[in-house]
Symmetry: C2
DNA sequence: CACCTATACGTGTATATACATTTAATATCA
DNA sequence: TGATATTAAATGTATATACACGTATAGGTG
């Protein structure tokens, strides 16, 4: 696998900033492909999995569709339709909000919690296997990513 | 913008590896959104832009569809259809390969080179603006990303 | 040569992304 | 109060992603 240059057969980059953009895009694809491998047997897409984790983090407190959208990793994706898909699989419930009838409260179901539970052991192994870095390097990278967007 | 925890309103992560996966996904979305802002006026998607740069890097030597696929940042995406879209915009040409009639040779057109040229100044500014890191930090990150996938 | 396999490209389908628009409900304020 | 603006969610449309499958060509072996 090795260097980015080798992986995408590009000899050089104009500058390190340009290379970093390409490197992040490529690494993203690498990660998502690996994640898909874990999620596929559970019939979940990465963003559906993300929404389920957001809902689990609510510990039983309902959350509106727009709040889910705010917390999604990809802000431009469509929480409304994702929730629809999850509801069709009986992984979430919807209930109209009484104090504001525009809003819809979403809760994870028992079945939704169960599927996250079943996934957990696979995901833990996945994270350590797919990221070939020491704990210190992971911390450094987390700091740099936070600063990058600053 | 600040920390990831703040951005996606998640209090904590199970471990730094888990946080790094989420951080990379979130940063990817941040980057692609910014990139889209630059590309939109030129009516190009990020992956179309990437394919055009691959073709420019060929310096006039034709390249087959499957070779483009190999060099794409997202391996699972569909080079055949992307090339179709670019051809419809007259940015690339296709010609049947004479020695292997299964293959199709792709070349970037003058119009394709021109659009990359027009984009260049916007993209240079974009890279430095969107990545709030010093050159040293960018180098560190490039090394860590290469090692991550090792 | 006949047969089998591998490769290159294209197509089909479900889902996701990106963004504009619509509809209903709520908030604001003259 | 009534007109206007804002917000929440859903919907529409084009493109992209992920993956299975089909078709034609090429290569290899008996």
């Amino acid at each position: 696998m090795g260097s980015l240059e080798e992986a995408i057969k590009q000899k050089e980059f104009k500058d390190p900033y340009n290379k970093l953009v390409v490197n992040l895009l490529y690494t993203h694809s690498y990660l998502v492909s690996a994640q898909n491998g874990v999620l596929k047997p559970f019939d979940l897409s990465p963003e559906q999995y993300n929404v389920l984790r957001i809902l689990r983090g609510q510990n039983g407190v309902p959350i509106t569709v727009s709040s889910i959208q705010d917390r999604m990793l990809n802000r431009m994706s469509n929480a409304s339709r994702l929730v629809d898909k999850l509801k069709a699989k009986m992984l979430v419930e919807r209930s109209e909000c009484s104090n504001d009838r525009r809003q819809v409260d979403i809760m994870i179901t028992e079945k939704g919690l169960q599927i996250l539970d079943d996934l957990q052991v696979h995901m833990e192994g996945f994270n350590n296997q797919v990221i070939n870095l020491t704990k210190e390097e992971v911390d450094t990278m987390n700091e740099l990513l936070d600063k990058l967007r600053g």
